[in-house]
Symmetry: C2
Subunit: 328 residues, 2 copies
């Protein structure tokens, strides 16, 4: 049985999904749907159909799971509730403040139409959230810490690029090593935002731009930089192209908890990732959850689901017996 | 609604379960069942009943989940299938080679009697297994590594204590830092058992024992030590009592995986724990799964379940809405 997958949106994440499907022999990519002119897209596998997104509904009988690779700001709030009327879906909706609302909208569509939708899949929300829930359930008395990085923050890079005199720029969010160590030592420190992360900016200035002024403007930018230790390094366009076009990321979820009395015993539970390519890793998570969504739907488990609702066995290509024998 | 819990077996693990229940306001310990003379046991909370294990069946209506804290060698193979006829159960069965057989036996009892049984719960099998399945599902192309320690190995400590001239001893399993770093660097090394762990023995010798001989006998012990770099340190009884009676443990599950082509991107997914008290931490996991077992049974989800089958939401004391709002 092959799971037939469709992709909506062919940016970095969509391309990552295409690459990940190739690593999973139980899956097959049927079509990529785009808002652009389909002829303008080049997929890796030339046999994959590229179609305008308006054609997606014609493929309801040919696609088992549709992976939505649009953004959370404007694409998914429309696409999630819409496509879950016709398809089982997976998405990476990550606007934390609106997740309840989004979940309710998708759940309504999916339930009414017998579909299963995995929402807010990725690493944060996603794998990090799973570890927060697991570690808190096991160590209810304790404190949780999430650190992000070292990795590219799209939002902060955009903010730097908007500064006058900046030709190109990238911003790396970097966890403060000293604070990480305090947490790992079980000191359960109170950490301000500025004590958790530093911000490294690599900036290609326009010719004859005032570097002092750029640097000052970045470092004093409210919300984005003024509460952090921020470094600004000016580099050439060549250096930018050579060293700063990747999309690395990573992070740490650490719970420091206590059990027992007299003595109290300390425990550290840590989950971390270190990624060469944020979009390819995120895409690989979406694909594993596509497998889960397909299976859940076959069993009649419909509606919106998060990483908290889906048993791990559903993600794996292995049989239950193999899981018990080889991985338990 | 309070979940009423019973404990079978009051060793280190059973005492850890008692301590953990105190940290979970939705749970209450009803009774401890023991094979010893009940009057000889002192529970922390004096209001808890201590009864002979033969009385357990009289409590079927008073206990929602029974946590089995016996050993895997002889206790659980009998107790698991037996108690899951009458109670929802949680156990920490960890004889890897016989898990399928054990699972089948417990499943049969539980299914026939409408009970739910979480088997092989703990950190390995348990949390480590979950991370192996999750990371493999997300990064099917890659290699998985499990390192244990720094921590006390009961089996190896026992082996050392059996050596002639040894009065008392403890053995720590310690991951080889250099190998850990190679794995984290994405080098995906092939590691022999001896390259993964070293073994540190702290030995209190009998008066006038031949230390050279003891040391040689330990280091050349087949299977236990001869394949490892092993250190033997002789200490006094006082030092043993002061520094070596704790039960620390820990470990690392690391997957090193690749995505994409041209370039291939590397990713590291790592889960680690660092525990002051192995039994108290393991007990805390059993208690979280007791909550899950209770809820699954209320929903009619019966039979034997492992960590692969149980959604994380079932472990948490929080409502679904809280989980989405606070932890996703």
């Amino acid at each position: 049985m092959t799971i037939r997958v469709g992709i909506v949106g062919y940016g970095n994440l969509g391309r990552g999904v295409e690459a990940s499907i190739c690593q999973n022999p139980d899956m097959k990519l049927i079509a990529v749907f785009t808002r652009r002119n389909p002829d303008s897209l080049k997929t890796n596998d030339k046999s994959v159909k590229v179609l305008h997104v308006d054609k997606a509904r014609e493929y309801v009988n040919d696609i088992d799971v549709l992976i939505l690779c649009g953004g959370s700001a404007t694409d998914l709030p429309v696409q999630g509730p819409y496509f879950s009327m016709f398809f089982n879906t997976v998405d990476s909706y990550d606007t934390h403040a609106k997740i309840l609302e989004y979940s309710a909208a998708v759940n309504k569509s999916a339930l009414a139409n017998g579909k299963t939708a995995a929402i807010s899949i990725g690493w944060d929300p996603g794998l990090f959230s799973m570890n927060r829930v697991l570690a808190e359930a096991v160590l209810p008395q304790g404190k949780e810490y999430t650190f992000w990085g070292r990795g590219v923050s799209q939002g902060h890079s955009d903010a730097v690029r908007r500064v006058n005199g900046v030709k190109n720029a990238v911003q790396y969010t970097v966890p403060v090593e000293k604070s990480l160590q305090k947490v790992r030592n079980g000191e359960t420190p109170q950490l301000t935002t500025g004590e958790k992360h530093i911000r490294e900016c690599f900036v290609v200035p326009e010719a004859e731009a005032d570097k002092e002024k750029i640097s000052h403007e970045i470092k004093s930018m409210p919300h984005y930089f003024n509460e952090y230790e921020t470094s600004v390094t000016f580099i050439t366009e060549e250096e930018f192209a050579k060293n700063h076009t990747g999309m690395p990321h990573g992070g740490f979820v650490i719970r420091s908890g206590q059990t027992g009395q007299d003595p109290v015993n300390n425990h550290i539970v840590e989950f971390s990732i270190n990624l060469d390519s944020n979009p390819e890793f995120t895409a690989s998570i979406l694909v594993a959850y596509a497998r889960a969504v397909y299976r859940l739907n076959c069993e009649g488990q419909i509606g919106a689901k998060t990483v908290f609702d889906i048993p791990l066995a559903y993600l794996s290509a292995r049989t239950s017996e193999e899981l018990l024998r080889e991985l338990l």
